[in-house]
């Protein structure tokens, strides 16, 4: 199967390379969401990542949707699905430990292609996160590279060396910004790499703070970086960087991990340190609007990720619970009141969410 799988990948890659169809542009986000794709990471080494689909109309969740739609993959996606990105009519699933990117059709969940992430020596690169820009998907990998996937050919066309343990990635102001966390190098890395998506080069590397991980951008061309610190002398930081002037405009000792900018606020989860609650932070001084974004007393045991539907302004919080049994996804309105929730069974540690409209 493994060989077939690779063969398929090659065949599909070739098929799409010879294709000259234009990329369909991303539809405007004015339609209400019909469904939610939920990627559950699973447990390390258990090969149990799940792609589930929640139907908002009938409140039905199909926990193992990918396997249901693709019986030729009885074991599913593999190990540790780390990122999910819907772009240009394709759903990209970044599989960290199984070290490849799965591409599926978001309309029916069917397999389109899989893109293997290997070093020149044939070792797994362990891809982490993806961001889209123009006709490319840029994917960070733990070996310190960013790979550019052509959205038409679905082949990796460029591999751009950045800092060690490239982690988060975001597009802003016609550039891509990559956090280099480097937890296994002496003293951690503390930089953000800036990539020019036209020349496919790293143009600059800026020091922002120890162990930068989470990254998000606003409409005004600022990016926000969550630095975890080194867990000893350097504490966690939240950093604001102006991409026009490439200057750091704000630093605070705010402990965060996942950060998502939306509509004038940063939605943040705590980290190794910090708050156990999801919070909404002000852009000016990073202070929390309240100690807990959730206002109706709903308990989220282990908040694992935050996704905001820009159309409805609903806030989705993935709850990893005890990380070994089925998680749960909560939908809150913008005031922090619960609208609905569903179990991600058999998905363990649900994280990223993508909307179908």
């Amino acid at each position: 199967m493994k060989k077939n799988f690779l063969l398929f990948s090659v065949l599909f890659a070739l098929a799409f390379t010879s294709c000259s169809k234009n990329e369909t542009p991303t539809p405007p986000q004015n339609e209400p969401a019909k469904g939610l794709y939920v990627l559950s990471e699973g447990s390390f080494g258990q090969n149990n990542s799940k792609l589930g689909l929640y139907n908002i109309n009938n409140s039905q969740f199909t926990g193992n949707y990918f396997v249901q739609q693709n019986p030729s993959f009885p074991l599913g996606l593999g190990d540790t699905g780390n990122d999910l990105l819907l772009y240009g009519g394709k759903l990209y699933i970044v599989m960290n430990v199984s070290s490849y990117v799965m591409v599926v059709n978001p309309v029916n969940g069917k397999f389109i292609d899989s893109i293997s992430f290997r070093t020149s020596a044939g070792l797994p690169k362990y891809p982490r996160n993806a961001a889209a820009y123009s006709n490319y998907i840029f994917v960070t990998s733990s070996d310190g590279t960013v790979s550019a996937i052509d959205t038409l050919s679905l082949a990796i066309t460029h591999s751009i060396p950045v800092g060690i343990n490239a982690e988060g990635i975001v597009a802003a102001n016609n550039k891509l910004y990559v956090t280099n966390s480097g937890p296994f190098t002496a003293g951690y890395d503390s930089t953000v790499s800036i990539i020019d998506p036209v020349s496919f080069n790293e143009t600059q590397r800026m020091v922002v703070g120890k162990n930068p991980v989470g990254i998000t951008s606003d409409e005004a061309g600022n990016i926000y970086i969550s630095c975890q610190g080194d867990y000893t002398t350097h504490g966690p930081k939240l950093v604001k960087l102006n991409t026009a002037t490439l200057s750091i405009t704000k630093i605070a000792d705010t402990a965060t991990s996942v950060i998502k900018y939306f509509n004038g606020y940063i939605y943040a989860l705590g980290s190794y340190y910090g708050s156990p609650y999801p919070r909404k932070l002000s852009l000016t001084d990073f202070s929390a609007m309240s100690s807990n974004f959730i206002t109706d007393g709903t308990v989220v045991v282990s908040p694992y990720n935050i996704t905001i539907d820009p159309q409805s302004e609903d806030v989705y919080i993935s709850d990893a619970k005890n990380y070994v049994s089925a998680g749960e996804v909560f939908c809150f309105d913008k005031t922090g009141k619960k609208k609905f929730s569903f179990s991600t069974s058999p998905g363990v540690s649900p994280s990223k969410i993508a909307f179908t409209r």
């Binding site: 799988f5 149990n48 074991l75 070290s99 797994p124 991990s257 705590g270 694992y304 089925a326």
Partner: protein
């Protein structure tokens, strides 16, 4: 440091006080009971369940390691990650592997870093006997630490009472599947009248690249990667017999291994290159003195040195790969005494003081705690040996203090734990016994639990457990074909609180250890043994074991996992061993089975790990080659039905494999 002096002084004080107390009254003679007695233990009248495997049984099962052999005990769960180098840990009655104490020739072997012993690394070739106590060991003349475990696995490689008149040499050579080669040799000899020596050594190599069914495609097979293992083991034992039947035993042990760590199979990206090498050495001495037939004293000392190097050359997160080097040391002294009082009672006192240290020897970029642990364990118990009733009550005092170079040291431990046991033979002239026991104990957190970089948590408390056992055992001699049969049935209830579990924080790369678990285990262990009369040179024995185990996670009644079965814990499991002797020919058929389990807490199809059964066949035909040469060729066929199964999900076990070899006694 001042505090440590206080412990040492206390320790010496205990010696000074306890030993004369024991010597003071000298009345009756002590029965010759020993943990390492050659006589088979009477597990009918034992106060706690005891299971025994003798040499002739050990050699017929498994692949020459202790973990494979103890799979044949009931109530035992071996987590086997497959192959020669795969980790094999043993938990008894759902207590967790950290509760299983391992005594090697009378003294504990321990890994304070991991908190559990990898039994796959201990060879069985040199062992005469393996005993498993599911609860408190009843013998009172043991180091205090022997009473600090939930279950004790006692391995005996050499019997002090072994009388040899002349030099005895044994050479053996084995080979088999997956490149197995295993030569071993042993020489026993005497120098003068009082010194007996034994030198014993073995070498083992296997490339471990066994085929397994590819997960993504059941029609294809792949070979297990990076599963090779090479070990060298050398042991020297010496016994000095004093004129007055006192004995001094000294043991030196050296073990060196180099192996791959194959890891679980990752679908679509199976890749493995991590290596581990281990150098383990210990030196131990035991001096036992009998004083006027009613008092015995046992003084022991041990020094253990362990060095582990872990390498990941393909560690992608760093340009130079990853290398971890750990050095562990243990210094151990123990004094124990037991004394018979008024012909009915035996009083036992023992006290151990030992120091564990762990140092990291590689280029660390985060400061390492380098913990040093000072342990003081004392035990006092009184045993009553009535004609119909035997009972024991005891206390164990556990004191632990720790020091670190950087960061916070673990919280100290001071605990007093009781243990009680009782056996009753209600019928006269019948071998039938009822038993009841209770034991309360703690498991201190391991160094990894406390200090592992970013994961460890120094505010951990020790785990606490309570064990109850109620059993019945009987033996009957028959006039017919079956010479005798014995049966034991035990039901138990175990409760583990403050169980230490690894919990990820904000993502799967940030874990921490917390005292959040609670486990409630209810189970039943049953064993049946039949032995037939010798008829026309035929002789047979059948042993059947069955275990029922309901081990529930009762940590959090708000969790979806509340009262679900613990991962990897089968409800039903068992073993059978059928041995036949026909003239010289020794034949054995043995088998293991396990019902289905779940790999994670949720009892759903996605987590199902299928039931399995594996059978093995052994045949040997010893013969006298010449006047002084005795040969025993054998063949051992494992997993004869070529089953592809897993004990741990994504760690495939070897399918059919074989060993053949010859043992020559000169």
């Amino acid at each position: 440091m001042k505090k440590q002096y206080r412990y040492i002084i206390l320790f010496i004080f205990i010696y000074a006080v306890s030993i004369p107390i024991c010597f003071a009254q000298q009345t009756d003679t002590l029965p010759n009971v020993s943990l390492h007695s050659k006589k088979p233990i009477n597990n009918i009248t034992a106060q706690v369940p005891v299971q025994v495997l003798q040499k002739n049984e050990i050699e017929k099962i498994g692949n020459n390691n202790v973990a494979d052999a103890v799979k044949y005990f009931s109530g035992v769960l071996v987590k086997d990650y497959g192959g020669l180098g795969g980790l094999k840990t043993v938990s008894v009655r759902s207590l967790g592997a950290g509760y299983t104490g391992v005594l090697y020739d009378g003294l504990p072997i321990c890994d304070a870093q991991a908190g559990q012993v990898d039994l796959g690394k201990i060879a069985t070739q040199q062992l005469n006997q393996i005993q498993l106590y599911s609860g408190q060991v009843n013998n009172l003349l043991l180091p205090a630490r022997s009473y600090a475990y939930g279950a004790v696995l006692a391995l005996q490689s050499w019997d002090a009472t072994d009388a040899i008149s002349k030099t005895q040499t044994t050479i053996s050579l084995q080979g088999g599947s997956f490149g197995l080669i295993n030569p071993a040799a042993q020489v026993s000899f005497k120098t003068g009248n009082k010194f007996t020596h034994r030198v014993n050594g073995s070498y083992q190599y296997s490339n471990g690249n066994y085929p397994f069914t590819v997960y993504e495609n059941a029609a294809a097979t792949q070979k297990r990667q990076n599963d090779d293992m090479q070990t060298i083991r050398l042991e020297y034992d010496m016994q000095y017999a004093f004129n007055d039947s006192n004995t001094l035993q000294i043991k030196a042990y050296h073990y060196q291994s180099a192996q791959g760590l194959p890891g679980g199979v990752i679908i679509y990206a199976n890749n493995s290159s991590q290596r581990l090498s281990n150098n383990n050495n210990f030196l131990q001495a035991r001096w036992q003195k009998n004083i006027k037939h009613n008092t015995r004293v046992l003084l022991s000392a041990k020094y253990n040195y362990d060095y582990k190097v872990y390498r990941d050359p393909d560690f992608i997160y760093s340009t130079n790969g990853l290398e971890n080097k750990y050095r562990q040391q243990e210094m151990y002294v123990s004094a124990a005494a037991d004394k018979k009082l008024f012909s009915l009672f035996t009083l036992g006192l023992s006290s151990d003081y030992f120091i564990n240290s762990l140092q990291r020897k590689d280029k660390v970029f985060t400061p390492f705690a380098s913990p040093v642990r000072y342990n003081w364990i004392s035990h006092a118990a009184l045993q009553a040996n009535g004609k119909k009733i035997q009972a024991q009550a005891g206390f164990l005092y556990y004191h632990q203090q720790e020091k670190v170079k950087t960061g916070n040291a673990a919280v100290g431990i001071k605990r007093l734990n009781p243990a009680l046991s009782l056996a009753w033979q209600p019928l006269q002239d019948k071998e039938l016994s009822l038993r009841l026991s209770y034991k309360s104990m703690i498991r201190p957190p391991s160094f990894d639990d406390l200090y592992y970089t970013l994961v460890g948590n120094t505010s951990l408390k020790p785990e606490q457990s309570q064990q109850w056992n109620l059993g019945i055992a009987g033996k009957k001699i028959f006039p017919g074909f079956v010479q005798w049969a014995s049966i034991t049935i035990d039901v138990y209830h175990n409760l583990v609180r403050e169980k230490i579990l690894a919990v990820p924080r904000q993502n799967l790369f940030q874990w921490t250890m917390l005292n959040i678990g609670k486990v409630q285990a209810n189970g039943l262990d049953a064993s049946l043994l039949f032995k037939t009369k010798k008829i026309h040179a035929w002789n047979a024995q059948l042993r059947v074991n069955y275990s029922y185990q309901k081990s529930l996670d009762v940590s959090d009644n708000g969790s979806s996992l509340y009262k679900t079965q613990l991962p990897y814990t089968p409800v039903h499991s068992g073993s059978m061993m059928w041995q036949v002797t026909v003239h010289q020919l020794e034949l054995s058929v043995s088998g293991l089975f396990s019902s289905y389990r779940y790999r994670l807490g949720d009892p759903i199809a996605d987590n199902l790990v299928k039931e399995w059964a594996s059978f093995e066949v052994y045949a040997a035909h010893p013969f006298q080659a010449s006047k002084n040469i005795y040969c025993k060729p054998f063949v051992s066929l494992n997993n004869i039905f070529n089953q592809q199964y897993e004990v741990i999900r994504f760690y495939p076990m070897p399918r059919f494999n074989y060993r053949l070899g010859i043992t020559i006694h000169l």
